[in-house]
Symmetry: D2
Subunit: 355 residues, 4 copies
Amino acid sequence: MIWGTKVRLTVFGESHGPAIGAVLEGLPAGEVLDRDAVAAQMARRAPGRDRSATPRKETDEPEILSGLLGDRTTGAPLCAVIRNAGAHSGDYDGLKSVPRPGHADYTARVRYGGYNDVRGGGIFSGRLTAPLVFAGAVCRQILKRRGVSIGAHVLSVHGVSDGPFDPVKISGPLLDELSSRYFPTVSPEAEQKMRAGIESARQRGDSVGGVVECAAAGVPAGAGGPLSDGAESVFASLLFGIPACKGVEFGAGFAAAELFGSENNDPFYFDETGTVRTRTNRAGGILGGITTGMPVVFRAAFKPTPSIALPQESVDFSTGTSARLVVRGRHDPCIVPRAVPAVEAAAALALINLL
Amino acid sequence: MIWGTKVRLTVFGESHGPAIGAVLEGLPAGEVLDRDAVAAQMARRAPGRDRSATPRKETDEPEILSGLLGDRTTGAPLCAVIRNAGAHSGDYDGLKSVPRPGHADYTARVRYGGYNDVRGGGIFSGRLTAPLVFAGAVCRQILKRRGVSIGAHVLSVHGVSDGPFDPVKISGPLLDELSSRYFPTVSPEAEQKMRAGIESARQRGDSVGGVVECAAAGVPAGAGGPLSDGAESVFASLLFGIPACKGVEFGAGFAAAELFGSENNDPFYFDETGTVRTRTNRAGGILGGITTGMPVVFRAAFKPTPSIALPQESVDFSTGTSARLVVRGRHDPCIVPRAVPAVEAAAALALINLL
Amino acid sequence: MIWGTKVRLTVFGESHGPAIGAVLEGLPAGEVLDRDAVAAQMARRAPGRDRSATPRKETDEPEILSGLLGDRTTGAPLCAVIRNAGAHSGDYDGLKSVPRPGHADYTARVRYGGYNDVRGGGIFSGRLTAPLVFAGAVCRQILKRRGVSIGAHVLSVHGVSDGPFDPVKISGPLLDELSSRYFPTVSPEAEQKMRAGIESARQRGDSVGGVVECAAAGVPAGAGGPLSDGAESVFASLLFGIPACKGVEFGAGFAAAELFGSENNDPFYFDETGTVRTRTNRAGGILGGITTGMPVVFRAAFKPTPSIALPQESVDFSTGTSARLVVRGRHDPCIVPRAVPAVEAAAALALINLL
Amino acid sequence: MIWGTKVRLTVFGESHGPAIGAVLEGLPAGEVLDRDAVAAQMARRAPGRDRSATPRKETDEPEILSGLLGDRTTGAPLCAVIRNAGAHSGDYDGLKSVPRPGHADYTARVRYGGYNDVRGGGIFSGRLTAPLVFAGAVCRQILKRRGVSIGAHVLSVHGVSDGPFDPVKISGPLLDELSSRYFPTVSPEAEQKMRAGIESARQRGDSVGGVVECAAAGVPAGAGGPLSDGAESVFASLLFGIPACKGVEFGAGFAAAELFGSENNDPFYFDETGTVRTRTNRAGGILGGITTGMPVVFRAAFKPTPSIALPQESVDFSTGTSARLVVRGRHDPCIVPRAVPAVEAAAALALINLL
């Protein structure tokens, strides 16, 4: 729950408790914070944006308690609190004895001896990405001032693909544009097909997953280090903290395992300004755990939402017998679009720690 | 270079310096250390095991300097040093000005202002996995005494697949057997085909990559935590520290993004002993960042060895012009079999920190 | 601002910002929290307790935002927020250009490039001990259930001494009693004389300092470790974080430097239960950084409050000249009594991390 | 055993094991390392320097295994190993059952379940300051190049005082001179009297303690931070890791508790170069945990060597009865002179982390 070395993020809160929030420590002093830009990122993550998403209303207005004077950071830890509201705790009454498949209900029960707050998933709720998105929204403004743009798109949902980024040509303006949208895809057709697939799953009481592809442009060469200090480790340790993330790959990633070295190696050249660049970017902008100066490109796979309306097989701890579970309440049939700002936020936090 | 919270690993050394090594802190006192078992793991990682691998001879005998009295841990930091020998530093003379594509030569030059030890890749060398394998060999003995077995196989090399583990039925004895072998595959035919593919690449002066699949059996439910304290984050932060690792996925991983929730959710049931288990194990033994008690299963993708004999395009910093590079010296055409014990070692370190 | 390894404390807030607070991570789940006992500790630290103390009213009611369900910890981070109120920010208007001697005004200006919140001392305010006292109040309840009592007294104020604890016989009940009082001394006369000295300093527009002596009874032997993992390091790193603390010593401390080894060594013996104890306790319950099972005893020295009414020499950054400063507002002429619960809280956090 | 945030020190080894050593991580690349200067610091700490000190001969030659190429740091972790030699392990045979008063024998037995290496004190030996002195010797060279000088003197031994530093006027050249000597005092008479006192204690089979006062000149203003990020916390957490250190104070320290605020506050003024300075330096160069630009001054109290020839009362675990212990072997009757380079080394490590 505490992450980072230079800029450290502490996340707290439970889905149906009084509030959730974040403390960001180690930010430089004197940085201007655009609260509207923060709110825009929060809104991308908030539920209730469209028909296919969850109807639960959350305002998700962060109240900043410290670290800001006027519109500038003071250098003290920046704490923001987001109140929880509109929760229907009654929906979760049975979960204490019958764990939902694919959820943390069972594992949290073992881990915390049954004392964890099971309502809404407690600290395992996707709602806990809100503090992460807040923190990322702060960090990306600081990075932007240093020329770094971060953006992501929904690369695929249940087999429908948007087509991957061009890892050499991906540019700041395109990333900025994507990072202002709710369901960002490069191709409008891909978005339509994905939405149709999600709606179809919803109608059947089922859910779908997908892959988010994220890039950062303007990252200078030389950030990172060897072994577990490497950029991949820094990114991945935070990305896997986003609920439902089950895979992370950089550059060519798993596909690199299928290539010859002569295909996978990115040839170096001097561009017209004398800067070293690579003709291809299968490394995803990272060699030896250190940034190359080419765009950083990675993908994160998200499993389908485990909360589905279809009946499922589970166990009942109160009776010690098997149980048939029907999850009530209304749930996102696909969390991938809302995972996009969380992935970008994780990238912002990783980069501000690396730079 | 320092990793872990409860059992912490510090790795040091450069490929062609006097020695490399590891300090393991936080081990329980009084644990018996079987040095032969450690040596067996070191031998799996050492080069020169077969024709298709590198002919450079390394004895890789770890000298334990502290933390051990007789054959038992004292509770003090355990430091092991492995001397470097047999290096042909002359092979690397030109690399200071002409960086090898796919290597850390260029990025390390930027990161360290040109002061890094470029010989043999310095601290970015695959040789630095030797201290990791040492540390893992120590930890896995302690885990084994608590009923945890760790093993991996070469899942694929350049498109030839061994077939994935059965994530429900994978057992300790099979994992123990695999973890005693140099080129572990479940299917002997797969090994033969993979070796043929590697040899073919070697003859063309090229290289190939592959995927390692690793499992741990006997891991109790309840280890890990939410967000960045999650088991996936702990594993991934160390796995991505293994040179050439570009992707990590748990359970169904990227394939989960293609499934429906009703397919991906693992149904719970009580087994005959009253223990909660899941009928499938698409979660890879981890839900909400916490172990489920089912086998932990993950895959790590390794890119093809960047050192290839074929001529490559690069830049020359001494002249400021483009350059054609031919990497001399003999290099592994495929590091995947030698990455297997490193992946298992990372798993052992991750698990001892989680448990 | 983040401290600890097993139970970690993150403190945030500035004296005149919206709120201050704490996040406590790593607490065991299922621990009952007595909120009245927490409030009692908060009240000991709060200003306005008596004539000789500051008249600024602070309610200091912590709102718990997470980590608690009913009256039990959930295992998730426990966040508490304390609203700031009643601040007279106008009192600090001139401080931005004329730093107060003995305060962090000048050093914070350099450290944060002038962007720090100077009002009320910002993050350097003694008010930031409120989150520490909150955190300590939580931890001491958990420790108490394991038999550990923590208490402190005002050992001295400006030369008036209460007489030191008997480091061998100091008992849980006495410590519990002391830790329920606002101006705890063993001798009522000492308290009266100290209060008289404080009042006398106040009337002259001056301030005084003092020493807090703290003990913990019931600490089992075997907690801590060598070198910087030692108990003294753990305690001291947090104690020196309390504003105005300029010295820390354990057991005989500086006086040990004046003793012969034959005097300072504490002889071991078996008590009637077969437990190893020492006849004296000059070690303050810690040998080699590890607890001995005897009471842990240490002292922390606090400098006199730097905010005094007497005119002082300073500099004016707006004019670049020397300046005569008269600090307005009403300030504690002695913060030592209010430092007592902060010292006890630091001890509680140190012990919960060591045990 | 792992300390630091930016430059991290890992110490390993046991007194009578094969070797002790240190890993320093996070050093800047390209720094020239003067090995003779390192050896000079190691020699100050090594035993056998004069009649009054221990006759055990230790060469204490550090072998650098990594992080150095030629005479420059590479940016990779710098590991140095110091072989143990000349130990008479037989001297410690009885200690396993009869713990020495004032030593870690008993507490380590509890902490490590009896598996710790008791020979020579194992990891609790004063010998473990050798890696610290090595690390400090590296860091002080880097600091020196940035204008920071560190030096200490024996302020007192068993009541004989050298007189404190002038905390305002203490200068780099004096500190440099002191840090080149074995038994540094400002007054030659003080040294003579101290040596006489030590010799007298030695002849009686007893030992004495003392206080080391250390200063750093040339430290710029603005290093450190609030609460537990404060400079005092950083220094103290490492100083208390030096065996036998039982007290640490900064500036006026415990004496500040006896002063009025009007006496203790250091008035600010602009010097002729327009730099802010203070007329006095009771703060010891630190306000609010942040350096003021004035010399940093602190004192560390060391208890008398617990190993004395006089018979002592202890317990015998093999018989469960009380025991009379006579410590054999030859031991320093006063470790204070040899603690001086360790204190300076801790200061160097603290400062390189703060700057």
